[in-house]
Amino acid sequence: MAAKALPTSESLLLAGMDLTEEDIERRKAFLEFREDDVERLRGLNDVAEKYADSVIEDLYEHFLSYEETRAFFKDSATLSRVKKMQKEYFLQLTQGSYGLSYIANRIKVGLVHQRIALDVKWYLGAYNFYLRAVMDRLFEGHTKKPNGAIAVLRSLMKLVFLDISLAIQTYVRTIQQQQAAIRELSTPVLLVRPRLLMVPIIGVIDSQRAQQLTESLLGAIRINRAKVVVMDITGVAAVDSKVANHVIQTVAAARLMGADVIVTGLSADVAQSLVALGVDLSRIKSVGDLQGGLEEAERMLGYQVVPLAERPTAAQRP
């Protein structure tokens, strides 16, 4: 059995984007990016070196003529530095080597763009401008054999789309991470009285969020030794039978830990539709509104809430 190679910085970068080498191969296969494409692109390299500077000039003239993209190039030092990097980036498209280090490079560029908060639409628009600029120059050089130009262009398009899919991966991943963070933050479990927890649920409940919610609640029941939980679903976007079943499951799990759950915010209309759909609501103890639910929970725990003004005075007490 061969010894395991140490992870390289490139493979770590890929792993950080939830990408594997297999994944990259699958993308290339789907784009039908093959050896003949590599050959064609390598063959384009000389021409690319020749027109690189003029394409870059045109591209940056384009950026500077639009307010949104001009903002990224505040001074001439930044501008010339970026132009240089951009030229290297485009020349890599025709270097003929599209393995792990090429991929890692593309990801790094995607990360940079994402860090400076360049919106995806400008990134895509820029790439499109580049493709058009190249296309024009390509056909200029192949006037006698336009079919040759078309073949090269097709190969270039495959590679460019691979690049774009990698750059966008960074954006996608960030969104996923943010969603996870939002999920974490948006399911608070509050201890409102000793042994009494309240969970206000807001937004959309999918099965992932439902699991996370249930786990948080059960953990909180244990830590706080809760005997009653008030789960408010007033803010839940759409209570369908799937959501109802998640709620029923959560109630059942809490019960296994010795805690009762009161569900509030389940309107009569929604309850009726759920029953019509065959959902067994008998497993849920439901109280119309949050206040009523909290009062019921307090009663169950032996509390009795009496407003100060109404308390009998010593003289009035029997």
Partner: protein, 134 residues
């Protein structure tokens, strides 16, 4: 870690515990955490229990799994037991009521992300399950 497969012979009920402990360990190394570990161990327990109850002998095979960039765990339960005559019926058995001799298969299916069952009366049963890291 790619080629790590764990096989556990299932011949008696103490092997069920061995299988689920091994499952929990492997799942943890793959990167599963929290309740997913218990979920995987429970699914293994259900399938291994079926082997002990109905086939008397069999094996559980546990391995890391990889597919389109996702990582997860593969759990296979194999036996040369009597087989399941009506798979649809076995999968339809709603919640375990405790009174029926339900095979716990619908439950195991709910626990895992992927669930496949192949069975032939008189030849045996193979159950293949996968759970992916989120």
């Amino acid at each position: 870690m790619e080629h790590e497969e764990v096989r556990i012979r299932i011949d008696r009920d103490s092997d069920i515990v061995t299988a689920r402990v091994a499952g929990r360990e492997l799942a943890s190394r793959i990167g599963f955490a929290g309740s997913d570990l218990t979920i995987i161990a429970t699914a293994i327990s259900e399938i291994a229990r079926n082997i002990v109850l109905y086939a008397k002998h069999g094996e559980m095979a546990l391995a890391p799994s990889r597919q389109s960039g996702r990582r997860g765990i593969l759990v296979i339960g194999r036996d040369c037991g009597p087989g399941i005559p009506d798979i649809e019926q076995a999968m339809r058995d709603g919640f375990s009521t405790g009174k029926s001799l339900g095979l716990g298969l619908p439950g195991a299916k709910r626990l895992m992300d992927e669930f496949e069952i192949a069975s032939e009366v008189g030849r045996g049963t193979t159950i293949t399950m996968r759970k992916w890291l989120r």
